[in-house]
Amino acid sequence: MMVLAFILQALRIAVPYLLAAAGGVMSERVGVIALGLEGLMLSGAFGAALGSYYGQTPWAGLIGALVAGAVVTSLLAIATLRFKANQVVVGVAINLIVVAATRFFLRLVFDSASNSPRVPGFGGEGAGNAMLASFLNPVVWIGLAALPLLGWVLYRTPFGLRARAVGEKPEAAASLGVNVMGLRLKGLYIAGALASLGGAYLSLDQHQFTDSMTAGRGFIALAAVIFGRWQPTRVAVACLLFAGAETLQIQLQGAQLVPSQFVEMIPYVLTIVALAGVVGRSVAPAALGKTE
C-alpha cells in the first residue's frame, strides 16, 4: 500500500513535467531552444485559473490555458522565427515577461498580489479516496500519454520525419520542398499547447493560481529533455525519475533524514552530471538555436 501510494503520488507530480518536457522535445526537435518552458507553463496556469473562474468549469480552464499559451507562443515564434533573435535571450525575456505579467493581471483581475480565488478543478471533490480521485483529471491522462504519443508522431509519421529533418538539417529539408518555417511554427504551437497544459494541471489541481506557482518546473522539464537526450521514451523516464526524487523528498521531509535542500538539488545535480556525459554523450538536434 505504501508503494502504491508512492507510485500514485509520483505519477501526479510527474504530470506537469511530462507535459512540459513533451513540449520541450517538440520545440527543440524543430530547432528552437526551449528555455521559455517556464514562462509557457506559468501562462498556462494563469490562463487555466482565469478560464475556470469565469466559465465555472475546469474545461473552460483548459481552453483558457491553451489561449494563454498560444499568446506567449506567438510572442516566442515572432521573436525567434520572424526576427531570428537569439533564442537564449528570447527565452529569458519570455520567462521574465510572464512572471511580471501574471502578477500584473492577478492584481488587475482578482485584486490580489499573491493568488486567485478558488476555481473549479477536475474531480476529487467529495470523492472517497483523494489520491485515486485525482486520476479523474483528464490532464493526468493527457500527461501520461503525451510523450509516448509524441514519440509515435516523431518516428512514425511524415510530419515527425519532416520535423526532425528541420531540426537537424533545415537546408536539406528545404531543398526537398519542406516548408521549414511552417513546420517550426507548428512544432512551436504544439510545444506551447503541451507546456501550457502542464501549467494548467498545477492551477486546476490546486484550485487556484498562486504567484510564480510553476517554481522552476519548466527548467526541470528542460533538464529532463537533455537528460533524456531528446528521445521521448528516455525523456519520460527522466521525468518519472525527477518526480520520484521529489516524492521521496516530500516523504522524507517528515523523517528529517536529509535536509530538504539537498533532496531539492537532486534533479539539478543529475542534469549537470548528464550534461558532463557521465551517462553517455548526448547529442542535441544539430540545428538547435540556429534560425538563419
Binding site: V88, V92, A93, P259, K290
Partner: protein, 371 residues
C-alpha cells in the same frame, strides 16, 4: 550537448548609431506597451510616468535608491557581458551574486572585529569575488572539458547554489529564528550619505565606486590587453582563434571565473554596504536582470553603466508607482526592453544598412551620370 552553447552571440556594435539606437528603439517599444498596460488599468499614462520620474530622479532618496540598485546591476551586467564577449552565456549570475555575498559575510564573520576597515573590506571583497569565481569556474570547466552547455549548467547551478546557501543560513551559519548570517563586525562600506548627507535614508554606498572601477577594469581588460583580445577572438571565431594559437579551453575557464568574480563583487553592495549580513533572497533577480543590462549595454562596459542606471530606474520606479498601478508594470517593461533589443533592433539596423547601401548606390549612379 553543444548546440545551445553555439547560439549566436549578440552582435557587437561597430558604429556609434549602432550602439545608441538599441536603447532608443527598445524604450519606444516599451513605452507603447507601458501605455497600453496603464490604460488597461484605467490610469493616465502621463500621471504614472510623472510619478515614476518623481519617485526616482525627483528626490535625493530616490536617486540614492537608484544608485544602490545600479551598483548590483552593473556587476551582474558586466558578468554577463564579459562571458558574452567570449561567446559564453553565463545565466548563473544570480547564484554567483548570492554566493559572493555569502562569501563576504563569512569572511567578515571570521575576521577579528578589531581589524580596521581598510584591511577588512578588501579581504571581504576578495572573498566575494573568489566565491563567485569558484561558482563560475565549474560551468566553465564542464564546458571546456566535456562540451557541456554552460547555459543549462549555470541555470541548474543557480538552483543548487541557492538551495545550498538556504541550507547554510537556515541550519548552520545563521542567527536563530532568522534567515540571515550574523552581522559583519570588522568594518563595512560607508554609505554615500556619510559624504553627501542629502542621501540620508537611502541604501546607496561606496560599493558604487567599486562597480564603476570594475567597469573601467573590464574595458581595459577587454580592449587593451592581450588576454582580453584572445577572449574576444574566441567569442568571434573559436576555430580561427584556436588555429591562431589561442588556447580556447583556457580562455573559457578564465572568462567564466572572471565573470563569476564580477557577479560575486555585487554581493558587497548588500552585505557590506547595506545590511551588514547575508540574507536569503537578497539577490532578488538582479542576476537575471544583468542579462538585460548587458544586452542593452551592447556588452560594452560603459554601455552597461548606462543600462544599469536605466533598469535601476525602472526597478525603483515600480515601487514609486505601485500606489496606482501594480509595480510589476516596470518588470514587464524591463522584459519588453530585452525582447525589443533582441528582435527589433537587429531588424532596424538591417533596414538602415539596406537604406544606406541603397542611398550610396543611388549617389554613385547620379554622380556617374553627372560626369
Amino acid at each position: 550537448m553543444r548546440a545551445s552553447s553555439e547560439a549566436p552571440a549578440p552582435r557587437q556594435p561597430s558604429r556609434l548609431w549602432e550602439a545608441v539606437l538599441p536603447p532608443i528603439v527598445a524604450l519606444a517599444i516599451a513605452a507603447v506597451v507601458g501605455d497600453l498596460l496603464i490604460l488597461t488599468f484605467g490610469e493616465a499614462p502621463a500621471t504614472v510616468y510623472a510619478l515614476l520620474v518623481k519617485g526616482t530622479w525627483g528626490n535625493a532618496y530616490g536617486i540614492g535608491q537608484v544608485l544602490y540598485k545600479t551598483t548590483t546591476l552593473t556587476c551582474t551586467g558586466l558578468a554577463f557581458a564579459l562571458a558574452g564577449r567570449a561567446g559564453l552565456f553565463n545565466v548563473g549570475a544570480e547564484g554567483q551574486l548570492a554566493a559572493g555575498g555569502f562569501g563576504a559575510a563569512v569572511m567578515g564573520m571570521l575576521l577579528p572585529s578589531a581589524l580596521p576597515g581598510v584591511l577588512a573590506v578588501p579581504l571581504c571583497i576578495a572573498a566575494a569575488m573568489a566565491t563567485g569565481a569558484l561558482i563560475g569556474l565549474l560551468p566553465g570547466w564542464l564546458r571546456a572539458r566535456f562540451g557541456a552547455s554552460e547555459v543549462i549548467v549555470t541555470i541548474m547551478l543557480n538552483f543548487i547554489v541557492l538551495a545550498l546557501l538556504n541550507w547554510l543560513v537556515s541550519a548552520k551559519i545563521h542567527v536563530p529564528e532568522t534567515l540571515h548570517t550574523p552581522a559583519v563586525t570588522a568594518g563595512g562600506v560607508p554609505r554615500l550619505s556619510q559624504a553627501f548627507p542629502v542621501f540620508a535614508g537611502s541604501a546607496a554606498n561606496f560599493t558604487l565606486l567599486a562597480a564603476v572601477a570594475a567597469a573601467v577594469a573590464a574595458w581595459w581588460y577587454l580592449f587593451r590587453t592581450r588576454s582580453g583580445y584572445e577572449l574576444r577572438a574566441v567569442g568571434l571565431q573559436p576555430d580561427a582563434a584556436e588555429y591562431g594559437g589561442v588556447k580556447v579551453s583556457r580562455v573559457l575557464l578564465v572568462t567564466m571565473a572572471l565573470s563569476g568574480a564580477l557577479a560575486g563583487l555585487g554581493g558587497i553592495n548588500f552585505v557590506l554596504g547595506y545590511k551588514g549580513y547575508y540574507e536569503e533572497g537578497f539577490a532578488g533577480g538582479a542576476g537575471f536582470l544583468g542579462i538585460a543590462v548587458a544586452l542593452v549595454g551592447r556588452n560594452h562596459p560603459f554601455g552597461i553603466l548606462g543600462a544599469a542606471l536605466l533598469f535601476a530606474t525602472l526597478s525603483q520606479g515600480g515601487l514609486a508607482v505601485n500606489a496606482i498601478v501594480p509595480k510589476q508594470l516596470t518588470d514587464i517593461l524591463t522584459a519588453v526592453v530585452i525582447l525589443a533589443v533582441a528582435t527589433a533592433v537587429p531588424e532596424v539596423q538591417q533596414q538602415l544598412r539596406k537604406a544606406a547601401a541603397g542611398m550610396s548606390a543611388a549617389f554613385v549612379k547620379k554622380t556617374r551620370a553627372g560626369a
